[in-house]
Subunit: 209 residues, 2 copies
DNA sequence: GTCTATACCCGGATAGAC
DNA sequence: GTCTATCCGGGTATAGAC
């Protein structure tokens, strides 16, 4: 990382402190607006102080999401074990609507190619997609390892692409978060688990005979 | 259509004109920001003039999405024929990233219960879910009507709930729009068609024998 | 190197003139 | 009813105090 005027010891600590304040702010805010000034107040600073540490509001928020990602993979591991961890992570997300909203917001904003967070999101999705695809592929190769065995059957052969399954699973996850934000009765974890089950079951086709 | 007669005639016309200008602005803007002032300029007005006709920015944008919905159902019909129309509609969306972004943006913002667009989105999703569920159920009851026949098979029986399938299909659609905004190489229509095929194929289980 | 003070611009809202 | 004039809040850029 070639930061212009690099963060040194003390700076890194401050950055961390600011990120934590921002996380807290969003967690508390439900789905209300959070301004940079709000975050600044939490750390006893002015907005310009924060701007100094990050390059701007978007960069700060990107760092927040990156931190959340890091915390997540620390707890749930990488996406290698997509079966158990994935649903748990979703259930965990349901605890912090503010952060879910931040994620959706930023992701949409990052669509613009020269947005500060564009690369972060593009890379993040690329990573998730390939990791998930690998996991699905592996699981398909070794079926019936757990308490249940998916009964394979005559599903059209065009439906077995792991890369496609990964895109769909991630998409459904994001989309369900949206529906859940609007209607909290939806059980994201259950719905997604079911889809994951179906997708891996479909991918299980050693030979159609 | 109510005939433009009476004291509100001019107002309604102005509203329509503004909505069309906004649609055009978003369509042109790619995924860049669109301010109320931008829209105002297009109709030769000031921003305050526009805000007078709708109650605020959010209300205007809600009206824009509602208009787009109306235009969409006019062309593609309701979701009764979820097979053909759905993918086409998605492909059509791919032509206007600005509007897709607007949708995602607003939907996220509408999560807050007292957001002006909250009711609109909540109701919209309720409607779509139930319409799609009905369509899937119907299609499952009468399989193999077209050029292809889904080969039904031994998929776990817990996976046949039409309501669930509808939630998933919509979620995947929204989520893919997000991924597509970040990476335009993704073929939303193809991916979703494939999922729809799978979901209806799975729902096709007249009797497991 | 780190931060505050300040000043700027843009965007949305509001009151009141026509 | 419609819009102009004005205000206020949020993000950003710069200068300089510590």
């Amino acid at each position: 990382m070639t930061t212009p005027r690099g963060p040194y010891a003390k700076t890194a600590a401050k950055r961390q402190q600011i990120i934590e304040a921002a996380l807290a702010a969003y967690a508390e805010a439900g789905s209300r607006k959070v301004s940079v000034r709000d975050i600044a107040q939490r750390v006893g600073m002015t907005d310009a102080g924060i701007l100094h540490h990050f390059g701007g509001r978007e960069a700060l928020l990107t760092a927040v999401l990156a931190a959340r990602d890091a915390a997540g993979t620390e707890v749930y591991g990488d996406f290698e074990k997509a079966d158990a961890g994935y649903a748990d992570m979703l259930a965990q997300n349901a605890e912090t609507p503010g952060l879910v909203k931040l994620f959706v917001d930023l992701a949409a904003a990052a669509a613009e190619p020269d947005h500060p967070a564009h690369d972060f999101f593009a890379e993040r999705y690329d990573r998730f997609r390939s990791e998930l695809a690998t996991a699905i592929e592996r699981k398909a190769a070794a079926p019936a390892t757990g308490s249940e065995q998916p009964s394979e059957g005559g599903v059209p052969p065009g439906l077995t692409d792991p890369a496609w399954a990964a895109r769909i699973l991630i998409a459904a996850t994001d989309g369900l978060q949206l529906q859940w934000l609007l209607n909290p009765e939806i059980d994201m974890a259950a719905d997604v688990s079911r889809l994951a089950e179906l997708l891996t079951a479909v991918a299980v086709r050693p030979a159609v005979d």
